[in-house]
Each structure stands twice: as structure tokens, then as C-alpha cells.
């Protein structure tokens, strides 16, 4: 409930200009990331926590930590992990890729595909490059793009409801790899 109020607050705030507006948009994005967990079928693991890893510098760390303080995903506590290297992201369920992650995007995506990690970005063009979900602004509101090919590659079934809310983008990675579009 509190999250919803929070979300509504940020929703209107997102329309404002300036840092405050950007900060509110970050809060919305953080809330969206948390909400994504409900619409994706996660692979069963023995991990005790549900980990969201952040690679590279991002403004979402603070609002995510705020959310993770009193929330769980299923029965597992939510843990936010700030990672300096790609290797540190191992065991995470969601990997938030910043605009400058410090390593090539391809390797990140490769790891994500192999370890069934949902990749989330907030940089224009990332979705087309293979990031599964990438935040964007649609009609002056916070929205998100979705690369269904990336999700398929990562082996993460996603709820059609979530798909219906997203702006779908073409998967250029798949085209490059197989030489022809699906």
C-alpha cells in the first residue's frame, strides 16, 4: 500500500522538470523493478535471498534499498547488491545495467542468459541491444521497453499482462547471431 502511494507520488512527480523530477522517476523505476518480480516466473534456486544486482553507477541504489528494507519476493528477503565487476553479479536474479557498466554489454548479456538473470537498463537503445527490460519515457510518463527475445534467451517466462504494458522492441542481438530476424 505504501508502495502504491509512493508510486503515485512519483508518478506525478515524474512529470516535473529538474533533479527532483529525476529523483522521483528513479523512485518509480525502483518500484517498477520490484513489481517486475511478480510477473516473471523465476527458476527455482537454493539461494536464501532474492538478489538484485547493480552494475555500474546508478541513482536507483538508494530507492531500491529503501524498497528492499521491508519487502520480500515470495518468501525470500530482497537484497540489493552493488557490484563493481561482472563476476560479483553471480547469484542475482535481476541485474540493473547502468549506462557505463565497466564491461562490454555482450558479456553481461551472455552471463545473464546463462544464469537466467533478468537484465534491466535505463539507457536509451539498451533494449534493442539485448537488455530485457529498459526504462524509457512514454507520453511524459515512466514506461518501459521489453525485448522478448532477450527474455526468451534468458529462459524467463514473463506474464502477458506485463508484456501488454510494455513497449516491445526488436531484438537486434538475435538477428546478428542468426543472420535473419525471427
Amino acid at each position: 500500500m505504501a508502495l502504491a502511494a509512493f508510486l503515485v507520488g512519483f508518478c506525478f512527480a515524474a512529470r516535473a522538470e529538474g533533479d527532483d523530477a529525476e529523483s522521483r522517476a528513479d523512485n518509480i523505476r525502483a518500484a517498477f523493478i520490484y513489481k517486475f518480480t511478480a510477473y516473471i516466473t523465476w527458476p527455482e534456486t537454493d539461494a536464501e535471498n532474492f538478489t538484485i544486482a547493480l552494475l555500474g553507477k546508478t541513482n536507483l541504489l538508494r530507492p531500491l534499498r529503501e524498497i528492499a528494507r521491508d519487502r520480500k519476493v515470495g518468501e525470500k528477503p530482497l537484497v540489493i547488491k552493488e557490484c563493481a565487476t561482472l563476476e560479483e553479479t553471480t547469484g542475482a536474479k535481476i541485474l540493473l545495467v547502468s549506462a557505463a557498466p565497466g564491461c562490454p554489454l555482450e558479456s553481461i548479456l551472455k552471463k545473464a542468459d546463462s544464469e537466467k538473470i533478468l537484465t534491466v537498463g535505463s539507457t536509451p537503445g539498451f533494449a534493442e541491444k539485448g537488455v530485457a527490460i529498459n526504462f524509457c519515457v512514454i507520453e511524459n510518463r515512466v514506461g518501459f521497453e521489453m525485448n522478448l527475445g532477450a527474455l526468451k534467451r534468458a529462459g524467463l517466462p514473463v506474464s502477458s499482462q506485463l508484456v501488454s504494458l510494455a513497449k516491445l522492441v526488436e531484438d537486434t542481438v538475435q538477428t546478428e547471431n542468426k543472420g535473419q530476424p525471427e
Binding site: 502504491a4 503515485v8 508518478c11 513489481k35 511478480a38 510477473y39 499482462q161 501488454s164 504494458l165
Partner: protein
């Protein structure tokens, strides 16, 4: 239910059939319509819940991600169903998140509801469903659905039910008519037949019976019963006819016997052994003035006082079963002529009956007639004597009368021969005659002639009793005879006998168209003159207050001509009246009447003309003599 009990079987069948069908079809219709409505409602409810749940599911993400347009798009999917009019999504705080209204329908504000079905007003149904995300309720979706369709379905169901009802009723009517033909028609025919039997009383009528079912058995039973009744009726009719015949014969016989008994001119009284009256005939009633009812059961002595002195004899005869025949006895009332009766008692012996029949005849008249006959016989002998004496007396009388006449002639101055003879002897006939007159000799001679003539008349009257009297029967007009007699009588007055027709009023009452009667005119004139003279004498003798009057009537009766001579003189006492026709009976002074006039008249009328002569009189009121002459003379 009285009306139902009283209507015909045919109608009962139809009513029962139709009522049963009506009830069945009504129940079926109600059940069908109700069930159809219920099913449709349930179906609609289920459908609405499904739609609502689907929308709730599809709204989870838009609500979760606060994507209003997406939420509205999901709600808009409800337009696929025409019945959904409005849809709303509320968030967990109850705030309206998204809304949808069917194009053309008015806006409708609907408060949030907990999940479930709600019957709305005006034919709308509201269905709400929670929006869940992993067990967490994040909102509610509500749909307002138009349920008018239910009424359409209900109406259709009712139309079908009504159609089914009409067809069912038609079939029921047909079936009842068929049943009526099969069941009630034969019963109706039977009832009609029985009514005919009752009205016409004709037990020969039979019910037609072509069937072998219970109704057939009923018809057969009735036919058998009618047969028995008919047989009994026939036997009864025959018995009744016989009885009726016997009764009629008995009645006729009884009436005939009663008639015989009543026709008898005798008093007939049946008595039981105690002398109590059991039967009483008309003559008895006439004599005593008591009807049979009044006298029956009373002692015979009480109702027949004349038998008072004979009772012991009657009782003895009844007791001993002995006949008593022609016991004559007389009863004399105070100041009355004696009455004579003949008494007979016949014991009843046949058929075990007890008692006797008493017969009593009033023979007073007969006794008197017998007495009169004795006198008539006397007259006959007088007649016979007169006939023998006639010549012997008439010859001297003739000599005397002739001599008297000659004396009178020979002293008469009228004959010249007398005058001559007197002169021859030197006498004056006038002087002689004067002497004879002076000495009364001529008067003596006249007296001799008058008395001689009277004596000759007596002899002639006596000769009238003689059978030898000649009779010249001629046909005459009675009115003419009466007129002649009255004319004669008018000129005949006799100072000595003190009657004078000039003071008497004569009234003639002649019936017109009288037939002529064959009779001896002279004799009848003699009788009538005698009666008229008697009447005049009676009127002269009486000092009545009325003007003296003689009425002479002539009238026709079936076999007689009746001549009445009636006066209004002093009349007669009964004992005189009874004796007026006796010869030599007279009430007149000596020398005035011979006592033969009426008896000669009686003789002329009864013996010579076979008629009747009777007299009726009431003292002080005059007398009436009645002559009846037969129209056709016999012998």
C-alpha cells in the same frame, strides 16, 4: 359445490378434464417459466462473474503499474458483451482508477462494493470481483450488467407456455369430448330412455345396448328390470281389469237391486235379529220422512211407529225364522180415518245372513176401493133390479103422466073440441076451468106430473147402473161439450135448490189444440152438468168471503184429456171427500139430492169410458173434481 352436483355428467366430465388439464398446465407453465428464468439468471450470473473475473485478472498489471489507459483498454474489452453497461476499477484505497461506459449509456456513479452479485434497480445487475496479485488485493473491478434480457426470456417462456397451455386445453377439450362420447353419451341415452319410460309409462321401451362394458351391463340390468316391471304391470292391469269388471258388475247389481227395492211401492225394511234397521228403502223414507242414514242402526219400532203394536209379532217371526204373511192391521189417529196396513216378515236365511225383511203396505185406499166395490156391486144389483123393474114401473108411470097430460089438454080452452063438448052438455068450459083453478085441481095435476117425471128420472138413473145401458161412442170436441154444458147450466136455475148461475162467475181455461175424444156425448154432458150444478149448489150454500167462481179447465195429458171443475166454495172434510162417490151418499137436504148423481157420474167415467174421476178438497178453500178421459178408447 351444489352447482357441480347438479350439472349433467357430460358437463362434469368436461369440467373435470379441463380443470385437471388447467391445473397441470398451469403448474407446468409456472415451473417452466420459473425454471427458465432461474436458469437464465444463473447463467447470466455465471457469465457476469466470469467476465468480471477475467477483467479483474487482466487488470492486475495495469493497476499494479498504474497504467490507466491500459486499464481502460482492458475494461473496454467488456464492450464485446452487449449486456455490460458500465465497468469500474477501484484501487486498494477505494479510489476510482478507471471507468468504462457503453457508448450511448448515461454515466453512472457506483459505489465500491465487496465482491459478489448484486441485484440492482431497474433491471440491472452489478457484479464485483477483487483484483489480486500474489494473494494481495490491489483493487476491485465492478461491472453493471443489463438484465432486461431476462424479461425477454421470461416473456418468451410465457408465450411458449401460453401456446402450450392453449394447445393442451384444446387437446383436453377434444379428449373430454371423446370421453363424453364414450362414457356419458350412453349414460345420457339411458337417462333419456328412463325419462321416456317415466313420462309415457311405457315399460316396453328398452335401452340400446351394443357394448360389453360396465355401461352395457347397466343397460342390460335396466332392460331386465323393465322387463320384469312390464310383466308385473301386464299382470296387474289384467287383474285390475278383472277386478274393475267385477266391481262394476257388483255395483250395477247393487244399484239394480237397490233400484228394485226402491221401486217397490211397499215399505221394505231389513232388520237384524235384535230388530235394528240395516236397510231402508225409498218408500220407507217417503212414509217416515227419515233417510236411510238417519234410520240405520235404530230400533225398527222407533223409526216405524205404526209397527209399535206389531213389534212382538215381528220379533217372534225374526227369532223363530218364520214367515209372517199378510197380517192386516189398522191404526187410527186421533180425529182421523183409520189407516189399513198389510204386514209381511220374511226371515233372511240365505248365505248365513241373520235377521229379516219387513214389508209394510198401506192398503187404506185398496180397502176403501174394496168397500166401494162392494157398494158398486150393490149398485149393480140395483141396476139389475131397475132394469127388471123399468117396464113395470115405466108403464104405469107412462099411463099416469099421459093421463095428467090428457087432463091438462082436455080442460084447455085452446082446443075447439073441448069447447064444443062443454057446450053440448050446456056447460061453460071457461067456468069449469075457473073452478078447477080455484080449487087447485090443475095444480094437483101439475104436481102429479112433476112427481111422476121425477120418479121416471130416478128409474132412468137406476137404469144407468144397468150394463144393458146403450152407449153411442162418437168423437167429440171436449171444449164444445164444456161450452154446451155451461150454456145449459147458465139457463138452469132452481129456486128450490137455491142456486143461481147469474151470481156465479164462470172462468174457462181451455188449452189450445185439444184433441177430440171418443165418448158418449150425452153421458159426458150429464156428468159435467152434474159437476157444475154441484159446484153451483156448493157456492150457493156457502157464505164465503170470495166472489163465487167456477173455473172449468180442459187440458191435454200424454194419454188423457183432463177436465177440471173447480169452485171456491166451502170445500169438504176429508171423511166426506172420501165418500162422495158412494151411491146414496149425500150431504144435501132430503129431497134436494138423491145421492146418486156423483156415483152415477163416477160409474159413467170409470166403467163406461175407462177414465178416472177424482176429487181434491181443502176445507174452506173449495173443491176440484178432475175427470181424465183416455184419448184412445179400448173396447
Amino acid at each position: 359445490m351444489n352447482w357441480f352436483a347438479n350439472i349433467s355428467l357430460r358437463r362434469k366430465l368436461i369440467v373435470i378434464q379441463l380443470m385437471t388439464t388447467l391445473a397441470g398446465l398451469t403448474l407446468f407453465g409456472i415451473f417452466t417459466v420459473t425454471n427458465e428464468t432461474r436458469l437464465h439468471q444463473a447463467d447470466l450470473g455465471r457469465k457476469s462473474e466470469t467476465i468480471t473475473r477475467m477483467i479483474a485478472t487482466n487488470c492486475t498489471a495495469p493497476l499494479d503499474f498504474l497504467d490507466g489507459p491500459a486499464a481502460e483498454e482492458v475494461l473496454g474489452s467488456a464492450r464485446a458483451d452487449d449486456d455490460v453497461v458500465n465497468a469500474w476499477i477501484y484501487d486498494a484505497q477505494g479510489g476510482l482508477f478507471a471507468a468504462y461506459s457503453k457508448p450511448g449509456s448515461p454515466e453512472f456513479n457506483f459505489p465500491q462494493r465487496s465482491p459478489g452479485l448484486y441485484r440492482g434497480e431497474g433491471g440491472f445487475l452489478t457484479v464485483s470481483n477483487e483484483i489480486e496479485k500474489r494473494g494481495e488485493i490491489i483493487g476491485v473491478v465492478s461491472l453493471r450488467i443489463n438484465v432486461q434480457q431476462i424479461w425477454v426470456v421470461l416473456f418468451q417462456s410465457m408465450v411458449y407456455a401460453t401456446l402450450a397451455f392453449a394447445i393442451g386445453m384444446g387437446l383436453a377439450l377434444l379428449l373430454s369430448l371423446l370421453l363424453q362420447r364414450v362414457i356419458s353419451s350412453p349414460i345420457h341415452a339411458l337417462v333419456t330412455m328412463l325419462k321416456r319410460v317415466s313420462e309415457e309409462g311405457d315399460y316396453a321401451i328398452r335401452a340400446e345396448n351394443p357394448r360389453r362394458d360396465e355401461i352395457g351391463a347397466l343397460c342390460e340390468g335396466f332392460n331386465e328390470m323393465l322387463g320384469k316391471i312390464q310383466q308385473r304391470e301386464t299382470e296387474r292391469d289384467a287383474a285390475e281389469a278383472t277386478l274393475r269388471k267385477s266391481e262394476q258388475a257388483m255395483k250395477r247389481m247393487r244399484a239394480y237391486l237397490q233400484n228394485i227395492v226402491d221401486s217397490m211401492p211397499s215399505v221394505l225394511v231389513a232388520v237384524d235379529p235384535d230388530g235394528t234397521v240395516t236397510q231402508w228403502n225409498r218408500e220407507a223414507a217417503h212414509m217416515t220422512g227419515l233417510t236411510e242414514e238417519e234410520s240405520r242402526g235404530r230400533p225398527v219400532g222407533d223409526v216405524l211407529p205404526v209397527l209399535q203394536e206389531q213389534l212382538e209379532k215381528v220379533r217372534a217371526a225374526v227369532r223363530e225364522g218364520r214367515r209372517l204373511e199378510n197380517e192386516r192391521f189398522s191404526v187410527r189417529g186421533e180425529g182421523q180415518e183409520p189407516k189399513h196396513y198389510d204386514l209381511m216378515v220374511f226371515p233372511l236365511v240365505a248365505n248365513g245372513a241373520q235377521g229379516a225383511v219387513v214389508r209394510l203396505d198401506d192398503v187404506t185406499s185398496r180397502v176403501q176401493i174394496e168397500e166401494m166395490m162392494v157398494q158398486t156391486e150393490k149398485m149393480m144389483s140395483v141396476g139389475g133390479l131397475a132394469a127388471g123393474m123399468a117396464h113395470e114401473i115405466n108403464n104405469p108411470l107412462g099411463g099416469i103422466l099421459q093421463a095428467c097430460q090428457n087432463i091438462e089438454r082436455r080442460v084447455s080452452l085452446d082446443f075447439p073440441k073441448n069447447v064444443e063438448a062443454a057446450q053440448e052438455i050446456g056447460a061453460d068450459l071457461g067456468m069449469v076451468r075457473h073452478y078447477l083453478e080455484k080449487r087447485g085441481i090443475l095444480e094437483f095435476i101439475t104436481g102429479i106430473r112433476s112427481d111422476g117425471t121425477r120418479a121416471a128420472g130416478i128409474v132412468a138413473d137406476m137404469l144407468a147402473f144397468s150394463r144393458k145401458s146403450e152407449s153411442r161412442q162418437v168423437r167429440v170436441d171436449m171444449a164444445e161439450i164444456v161450452d154446451t154444458v155451461l150454456r145449459l147450466a147458465a139457463n138452469d136455475y132452481d129456486l128450490k135448490k137455491q142456486y143461481d148461475f147469474r151470481n156465479v162467475k164462470i172462468v174457462r181455461e181451455f188449452e189450445p189444440g185439444l184433441p177430440s175424444v171418443e165418448c158418449d156425448k150425452t153421458k159426458i154432458e150429464q156428468v159435467l152438468l152434474n159437476l157444475v150444478k154441484n159446484a153451483a149448489q156448493a157456492l150457493a150454500g156457502g157464505k164465503g168471503e170470495n166472489l163465487p167462481e167456477i173455473v172449468v179447465r180442459v187440458a191435454k195429458e200424454p194419454h188423457f184429456v183432463r177436465i177440471e171443475v173447480q169452485d171456491n166454495g166451502p170445500g169438504m172434510e176429508e171423511n166426506i171427500r172420501r165418500r162422495v162417490f158412494e151411491p146414496f151418499f149425500t150431504t144435501k137436504e132430503v129431497g134436494v139430492g138423491t145421492g146418486l148423481g156423483l156415483s152415477v157420474s163416477y160409474f159413467i167415467i170409470t166403467k163406461q169410458h175407462k177414465g178416472t174421476l177424482t176429487v181434491e178438497s181443502t176445507p174452506g178453500k173449495g173443491a176440484r173434481f178432475i175427470i181424465r178421459l183416455p184419448l184412445a178408447q179400448e173396447g
